[in-house]
Symmetry: C2
């Protein structure tokens, strides 16, 4: 999950700490019927929902699907051969589980490669390399010159501090070292409060004349695993090479600098950006019966960072979506509305798949009744977050209470996710799957995001929960009330 690009989503996530408040959105009239669904009416779905969860636990394929993806395409950053393999796997898998209208929808994606050289070394008084620290180049970073950049480290914890000490920053390598706030019990909110350093640190450092940027890894774990992720360069400054430093390495460097030592380091990166590559979103459907023109979207992203297996981010989301659809088919539950599985490309470093889906389906977005995204890992479900208007929120809350057997009965105010984000412009209510998040950032964007760190039952419960929610939404007599449209849809 790359939230750097979606500040608005982050702000909503940061605010989503209570399940009792509802979003302060007006609910203007639209052309869709407006009835909130009464809870007793929903009880009729309970046995189906519980059967879906049971099927997921007893005869489910969640972990098998995830294992296939992780083993056949562990490295699948946009533009890579692994990404192409993941697309082929997704298409093949959608057909094998019985989805209809399976197709590839084109997306032109960025193609960044890490390269062979990636090192950060502390220099001794004679300028000779000594201790080697654990880093990963940030996605999108430029390379250093051959031989690297050697300079003194300056440590800051905010852009404000950097600007206030701008004169000192000239010629330095700036280490952005503000930790994710451990007081935040919501780890995504803690991430949202720190990730500006990764996304914008290099540009801010460039603006004050620094030579490179280092960023404390976005995790609360104290260990030696660096966590990568995307940066964006502002257009008005020279791009600086930038890398993530493990939290332990960041603490060690910062402690020495705080003790008054002048710490010089040498940073070498050989990463590069190649020409854009044609890739694809992968789409398949369970066609509806009766109100098949109305569409419920469920999605995750196929691409992943080039470290670990992308198991939690977002192999788990892909497995959730595919398995949820498979469960509905396996139970013989013919939905009234069409359920559309979309496995997006390029969530991590561009969100071009999200934009392509939005632009490619403008003429039917009015018929999208809900979009659900799973991009928060494969841990035990807690429930869902949504940006839905108050009336739809109340309907969703009553539906989510049916998901008790999947431990997914909490509904909170929050964002749906990066890939379905653009659909908000057309008033589609967005829902994000929310599993337990305490371990997520231990694995996120780092070597530890591997298959063996996903628990088969936890993953299966997520699939069951999502299947249950999809089943109810796809069969409700009336669709949910649409959201107000904050941004007018562009004319075609």
């Amino acid at each position: 999950m790359n939230l750097a690009r979606e500040a608005a989503v982050l702000a909503i996530l940061a605010a989503s700490v209570s399940c009792t408040s509802v979003p302060p959105l007006a609910a203007p009239p639209t052309s869709v019927p407006q009835l909130a669904t009464p809870a007793p009416e929903l009880e009729a779905y309970r046995s189906d929902v519980e059967a879906l969860v049971r099927e997921a636990l007893v005869k489910g394929r969640s972990f098998a699907l995830l294992a296939e993806l992780c083993l056949s395409a562990p490295k699948r950053l946009s533009g890579s051969k692994g990404a192409a393999r993941a697309v082929a796997w997704a298409e093949r898998t959608m057909r094998s589980i019985g989805l209809s209208n399976v197709r590839l929808e084109p997306v032109l994606v960025p193609h960044w490669e890490r390269g062979e050289t990636e090192s950060l070394r502390v220099l001794d008084a004679d300028g000779l390399p000594r201790e080697r620290l654990s880093i990963l180049a940030l996605g999108g970073s430029v390379a250093t010159p051959p031989g690297g950049v050697s300079a003194e480290v300056m440590v800051v914890t905010s852009f404000e501090e950097l600007r206030a000490r701008a004169a000192q920053a000239r010629g330095k390598i700036v280490l952005f070292n503000r930790p994710m706030d451990p007081a935040q019990h919501d780890c995504f909110a803690a991430y949202a409060g720190a990730v500006d350093q990764r996304g914008r640190g290099a540009s801010e450092a460039s603006r004050v004349g620094a030579r490179a940027a280092l960023v404390r890894s976005m995790t609360m774990a104290l260990d030696d695993h660096p966590h990568t992720g995307a940066l964006r360069y502002d257009e008005d400054v020279a791009p600086l090479p930038a890398a993530a430093l493990s939290t332990l390495a960041a603490d060690r460097l910062a402690a020495r600098v705080a003790a008054g030592e002048r710490v010089r380091v040498n940073l070498q990166l050989s990463c590069r950006t190649l020409p854009d590559v044609l890739s694809h979103n992968v789409v398949g459907e369970i066609p509806g019966t009766g109100i098949e023109r109305e569409i419920v979207v469920v999605g995750g992203h196929l691409d992943a960072w080039d470290v670990g297996h992308g198991a939690h981010d977002d192999g788990a989301g892909c497995a959730h979506c595919l398995e949820a659809a498979r469960l509905i088919l396996a139970r013989g539950l013919q939905p009234r509305r069409t359920i559309r599985v979309v496995l997006f490309m390029n969530e991590e470093n561009g969100a071009r798949g999200a934009q392509a889906y939005y632009e490619g389906h403008l003429d039917e977005l009015e018929r999208h009744v809900l979009a659900l995204e799973s991009d928060a890992g494969g841990f035990t479900p807690r429930g869902f977050a949504t940006d839905a208007n108050p009336r739809a929120f109340e309907s969703l809350r009553a539906i989510v209470e049916l998901l008790d057997s999947a431990s997914a009965n909490a509904l909170r105010v929050g964002g749906g996710g990066v890939d379905i984000g653009p659909l908000a412009r057309s008033g589609v209510p967005l829902v994000g799957f929310r599993p337990d998040d305490e371990r997520y950032f231990d694995h996120h964007h780092c070597e530890r995001d591997t298959l063996d760190n996903v628990h088969p039952r936890e993953l299966a419960l997520g699939s069951g929960a999502i299947a249950g929610l999809l089943h109810v939404i796809a069969n409700l007599p009336q669709p949910l009330r649409r959201n107000p449209q904050p941004v007018p849809a562009p004319s075609r």
Copy 2:
């Protein structure tokens, strides 16, 4: 957590799948005031509760306390030197965190030792040992004769099947191979549905003339780690040696038998039961101010099986209780009622500490307003379970909703735990801490129950949740309504 001894608790747990129903208990008048606490009144506690959780996350000592226990006494089965070290650590730690009236309360405990020899080998046609399978003797088992027991394996999945096939069982080694039901989303309920095989299997096998008992490990994980746990011998049958087999080994054996093969094995155990040993419950208090005669108990158990570190079972519970008290002291929150921390001895194979506390405090049980136990692991909180009467349940539900920031806002109907179980006889409402349980039985009673499998933030959230609940209960204007007393308290 050893539930074998407490069938009643298990039955309640098995039924505790809904948070919306309340227990069908009558609520007879007692001498204690009966007001349910209105939710708005509780809002005054919210800021304190949130501060406790924040303190637990930011400056907490949960994981440090657990690490101390696991490193100083990783093996601490009742009667062992490790158990004595754990008692000494607990006493020292209670004093160091500032508890008052710290004392050791005597408990005479069983002393069972695993011994050096523990093997299960498949025999070939010539009676020579071939494949070696992973086992752990069950706690309390007798040894085999020197050279072991060699016999053919018979596989059953229930006592009913064993009785129906009693004639075939004579002279055999019976493998009880009914898995924990994966359809149960509540893993404790799945455990409750299978653990009779471990607790009573050896006696049932003896009754039909078998020579030894093997039991499929109580876990849903398919791996090669056997999980031990206590058995009990019925007094009317000869005790048979009994061991737990890893799930993979059980599956392999069962598959061969199912294919028609006559599989002979040799089981060797050198475990033994030594004379009882004097040990202790460890007790300390935060004395109340104002209504100090009323007591809120919070407890976990110090003893643990002799494999792994007893990190989740129940080092985590000990850390929760000690840290919850420390947090309340650290925040300067002087409770009106007395908060009493009880670290029980011998939960795993006898529950003698539970009985000793009950018998030793009979004269003040009327003044116990609540007992809370943490013995379900150190994972992310979900909330609490309780046997409280409907009025107290509603008060507790409103209190638990204050624990949202610790992810602990769910209250369900269920048991408190083995160690506080006897207090129910005096009408004390019991509460059990309920963390996420999907991974618990992967670690329970096996080599995998180690410190590194506990997540520091997950553990800290549990401590914060428990501290918050204790704080409110210890300060409520009126105590909770007591439960009806199902069993009259014995006269002294």
